[in-house]
Amino acid sequence: MNFRAIATIYHAEMARTGRTLMQSVLAPVISTSLYFVVFGAAIGSRIEEIDGVGYGAFIVPGLVMMMILMQSVSNAAIGIYFPKFTGTVYEILSAPVSAFEIVIGYVGAAATKSLILGVLVLATAAFFVPLEVQHPFAMLAFLVLTSVTFSLFGFIIGIWADNFEQLNIVPMLIVTPLTFLGGSFYSISVLPPFWQTVTLFNPVVYLISGFRWSFYGVSDVDVGISLVAILGFFLACLAIAWWMFRTGYRLKN
């Protein structure tokens, strides 16, 4: 293993985040916090409790997940797309590093950033709504697993994308709708039975449900199933990334 190369990529990516602190840290924290203010504190007081949890508190895990998903995907996608776009990727490809090492460097940095954001948003949320965390370790595990998995997913999008439009299309057209419909704002038990079944095909449901369980001990689907679902998605992404590097897909001619 070329650990030094991994560390070098990781640090360069973190430095990139550091250079754009406003856009990459402050913006997502503020925009997510606006949801707490509007839906939690303002409108939330007029909405009845769900599963015994006040509405303001109920939506926090879903919102954190939504933010982490979006940030992981877009940050990791840009991280590898940009060098590809500007041509500087030649240096990575000509270096004595394996595909695996490149993935660890880029995805590790994107996931770290998502984790930091997640913690910041949770801390901000605690100002606006009463939060309790029943299973802190499970919460952390979901946070880490989601950050890593969706950073990996974003990395794949970044390699696949040929232009900026494609780069944005997956986060906008797939990730956002799936998170909105994934039970961020409601328990899927309020849906008619048919739509409940349809919803179970949405992978984000499992993430949000599991994450919310780690806070309040209530969930739409079994926590074990949630874990298996996200692990499965992680392995699928890993396999795709491995295949991409092995074949040089959209990276080498």
Binding site: A12, G87, Y90, I92, P96, K252, N253
Partner: protein, 308 residues
């Protein structure tokens, strides 16, 4: 001379079906400066890309210092530094950070003294803390060279190092290359210009349409390529070439207004002096004169044609 890069049967067909390299065999000697000379689209960048890991070969093998470029890519790539043809450099961050990044990426422990030396060699030391986007184009190119040298490679690829570079920078680049050669670094550079190959290289490989046409010691090749044409514009048109002037390589232009004289720059005697003396004797006055070298393309045609 033991060879450091061995290329055998290397070919590349791109996805669209275009064959950019056709079964190339080539040996690069340890410590030499090798110039790869060829017109646009000849396959120079493709060949370099394969050796450095940017392009996957279709058939054939390449070994670097005895290691296969695909199987032992860590071994081969850690020995190679690449300065690509296109300007591709991250515009953000400082010069020093960019060079340190390259060193780390190649798995080398930080060595500020070495990095300092590289930057000084390339006259970049006083710009070490500048943002790269604030540098001039020539300086950015030098930063790319510094990045390629950051991990102390044994082999340096320079893909058209002098494209878009002014005379001064070109000179300092030659100096850097000269110093690297003294240290035993093998250098492979590509160029469109014969003079450039002549000035620097120990050996020259001419590539055309994906095939190596000739590989030769620079001196020997220059001899082959040394044909030049002297054109003399006459003050008064001639109807025929006077007897007294008749000589090898001299002919009258169709309109009678000019004389063309083909000569060999590498020959002991070019015959120019004699020609001018005879013109004088014959009482012909010359209005203007120019010399021209056969273009690279013409030379390729000549070389390829000569072989067929």
């Amino acid at each position: 001379m033991s060879s450091i890069i061995s290329i055998s049967g290397l070919s590349k067909t791109y996805q669209g079906g275009f064959t950019a390299l056709k079964s190339v065999d080539l040996e690069i000697g340890k410590g030499e400066i090798f110039a790869l000379l060829g017109p646009n689209g000849a396959g120079k960048t493709t060949m370099i890309g394969i050796i450095c890991g940017l392009v996957t070969p279709t058939t054939g093998t390449v070994t670097v210092d005895g290691h296969d470029i695909l199987r032992d890519f860590r071994q081969t790539r850690s020995r190679i530094g690449l300065v690509p043809q296109e300007m591709s450099i991250d515009m953000f961050g400082s010069v020093k950070a960019a060079v340190s990044f390259s060193r780390g990426l190649f798995g080398k422990a930080p060595d500020p003294a070495y990095v300092e030396q590289v930057l000084k060699d390339l006259s970049l030391w006083d710009k070490k803390d500048s943002e790269i986007r604030a540098l001039s184009g020539g300086m950015k190119r030098r930063v790319m060279i510094a990045k390629a040298l950051a991990h102390e490679p044994d082999i340096l690829f320079l893909d058209e190092p002098t494209a878009g570079v002014d005379v001064e920078l070109r000179q300092s680049m030659w100096q850097v290359i000269g110093r690297l050669r003294e240290r035993g670094v093998t250098i492979i550079l590509t160029t469109h210009y014969i003079e450039e190959a002549e000035q620097m290289a120990d050996r020259v490989g001419v590539i055309n349409k994906g095939e190596i046409v000739v590989v030769e010691e620079t001196g020997a090749l220059m001899h082959k390529m040394g044909q030049k044409r002297l054109t003399l514009q006459l003050a008064e048109p001639l109807t025929a070439l006077p007897e007294a002037l008749k000589a090898d390589g001299l002919e009258l232009a169709a309109d009678g207004c000019a004389l063309h004289f083909d000569y060999d720059t590498q020959a002991e005697r070019t015959g120019i002096t004699t020609l001018l003396a005879r013109l004088n004797e014959a009482g012909l006055s010359v209005r203007d004169l120019e010399t021209s070298q056969s273009s690279l393309e013409e030379i390729f045609v000549g070389l390829v044609g000569g072989k067929a």
